[in-house]
């Protein structure tokens, strides 16, 4: 029984010692900004260790209680919720504090798609994520200017959007002219440029004619293949020629070469030839009769 009393006394003394060790207090910055110098104040006497545990960083300092701990500019880089833990012998005290992101200095700009057909409404998407100089997401609204213009074409489309929760976005239509477009996002002094290749859309007014007809067959070729805004459809695009006669159907897939697709179809006395590219149908020719 005496021993138990002794143990209880020891526990009580331990508790008292622990509570007396809590005399060390922390004074933390209320409006800390990532990357800026700050001061962590301590009270009490003796020596210990200060841990600053942040979202993307941990700092450790040996401290003399009663003195201030200086955090140099650029040292504390992570914005968000930090924990300051003060440790002296077996005791520790902790407190949370917040560090705000710095001013916008970086943009992460996603421009999609990288290749897009001309004259399509709302097909280009630009997303800008606003960061400070230490890759912290800037949550306060920031004006981001998006501009899309063709090389040397001066006039383009431009729109300014305020970021929300760190993200600003815009949808834009592709231009009527094929070629590389400069898609630029700007926030403050920071600009990020992406190139969106605008390519001709589907063929428009697809037309063909007979170039030659002999005993070996019928040679047909298209007029220069263009889209609806007169951009030449890229070489390599497949054009399908189909000939239907009394013997059945013959199909030839030809690639556009120098703007024109050409095919040799079997000789026939009375046949109908059609042309198509993708979902676009062209004109129809009748060969081998009086029509």
């Amino acid at each position: 029984m005496r021993t138990l009393r002794f143990l209880a006394l020891m526990v009580a003394i331990g508790c008292l010692a622990a509570s007396s060790g809590q005399a060390q207090e922390l004074r933390l910055p209320q409006n800390g900004v990532a990357g800026q110098a700050m001061t962590v104040g301590t009270t009490g006497s003796g020596e210990g260790t200060l841990y600053l545990v942040g979202p993307g960083q941990v700092l450790k300092r040996q401290v003399q209680f009663g003195s201030d701990v200086q955090i140099k500019a650029g040292e504390l880089q992570s914005a968000g919720r930090w924990l300051a833990i003060l440790r002296a012998s077996s005791n520790s005290r902790s407190q949370a504090f917040w560090v705000r992101p710095g001013p916008p200095e970086n943009l992460s700009f996603l421009a999609r798609p990288s290749r897009v057909p001309v004259a399509r409404p709302g097909v280009i998407s630009g997303i800008a994520v606003v960061f400070d100089g230490f890759q912290n997401l800037v949550l306060s609204p920031t004006a981001v200017k998006f501009s899309l213009s063709m090389d040397g074409a001066g006039a383009g489309v431009s729109e300014t959007v305020a970021s929300r929760d760190g993200v600003a976005w815009v949808n834009s239509s592709s231009a009527r002219k094929a070629g590389p477009a400069q898609f630029v996002a700007t926030a403050g002094d920071t600009s990020v440029r992406r190139v969106v290749q605008q390519v001709a859309s589907d063929p428009c007014n697809l037309r063909m004619h007979v170039v030659e007809r002999n005993k070996n067959g019928v040679i047909v070729e298209t007029d220069p293949v263009r889209d609806c805004t007169s951009n030449p459809v890229p070489d390599g695009t497949i054009v399908t020629f189909t000939q239907t006669d009394s013997r059945g159907r013959s199909t030839v897939d030809a690639r556009i070469k120098k703007g024109i697709a050409r095919a040799v179809l079997p000789s026939a006395d009375n046949a109908v030839i059609t042309v198509a590219s993708g979902v676009v149908l062209g004109n129809e020719l009748h060969v081998g009769d009086s029509r």
Partner: protein, 218 residues
């Protein structure tokens, strides 16, 4: 034989002998001049405390097991997509985001507990991965570890891009966090924290590109 040597010999013999032979060793100790009374008291206290120690050890073992179970289990994620703009989040994407965000937190918990940045690579990318890797390196240098018990996430999708490759989430997470210096817990808390998360579609999953703690409620 000096008294200390005699006591040492008896102690060894006592361990080797069965319970019935203990009285003899007590006698031997009396002969060698050691005080018997405190030894008896200590053994009484020891016997009295034995069940307490056993219970404590099994409880702590149980706790360790529970913690491991928590670390191994995927945290629960409740996703609300009602406020997502400009594109509606379809069911398939919702399921994928829930699966991958939960996996990301599971990996984060493991990486911070064991100081293993490699655990992050399947679920994190870009700035989020860079920052967490730096945190783990700093933890290693400072001799710290962070143990998190993840009590779940209430997540709102606030942005889903038109082309479907980027999603932004606002997460209210309930976390129990312990920071350990070696094996000593130097900080312990349960807090509800808000996170801003940007995930982008990768090869076969959504990966966390930005994980930023916003001002949340304590």
């Amino acid at each position: 034989m000096t008294p200390s040597l005699a006591w040492f010999k008896n102690a060894i013999l006592q361990r080797a002998r069965p319970q019935t032979a203990r009285k003899e060793s007590v006698k031997a100790r009396q002969v060698s001049g050691h005080r018997l009374q405190p030894c008896r008291k200590t053994s009484k206290i020891g016997r009295a405390l034995a069940p307490v120690i056993v219970v404590t050890l099994s409880l702590s073992g149980g706790l360790i097991l529970v913690e491991h179970t928590h670390a191994d289990a995927k945290p629960t994620v409740q996703l609300n997509v009602d406020h997502a703009t400009p594109r509606e989040v379809n069911d398939t994407v919702q399921q994928a985001v829930i699966r991958d965000y939960s996996a990301a937190w599971q990996a984060l918990v493991l990486a911070l507990a064991d100081n293993k940045p490699a655990a992050l690579s399947d679920n994190f990318i870009g700035f989020a991965q860079d920052k967490l890797t730096q945190r783990i390196k700093d933890q290693q240098r400072a001799g710290l570890r962070t143990r998190i018990i993840d009590r779940g996430h209430k997540v709102d999708a606030v942005f889903y891009s038109t082309e479907g490759a980027t999603i932004e989430l606002r997460d209210t997470a309930t976390l129990e966090t312990q920071i350990l210096d070696g094996d000593t817990v130097i900080h312990s808390e349960r807090a509800q924290l808000q996170y801003y998360v940007i995930m982008t579609g990768a090869e076969d999953r959504w990966k966390v590109r930005v994980l930023e703690s916003g001002s949340g409620q304590e």
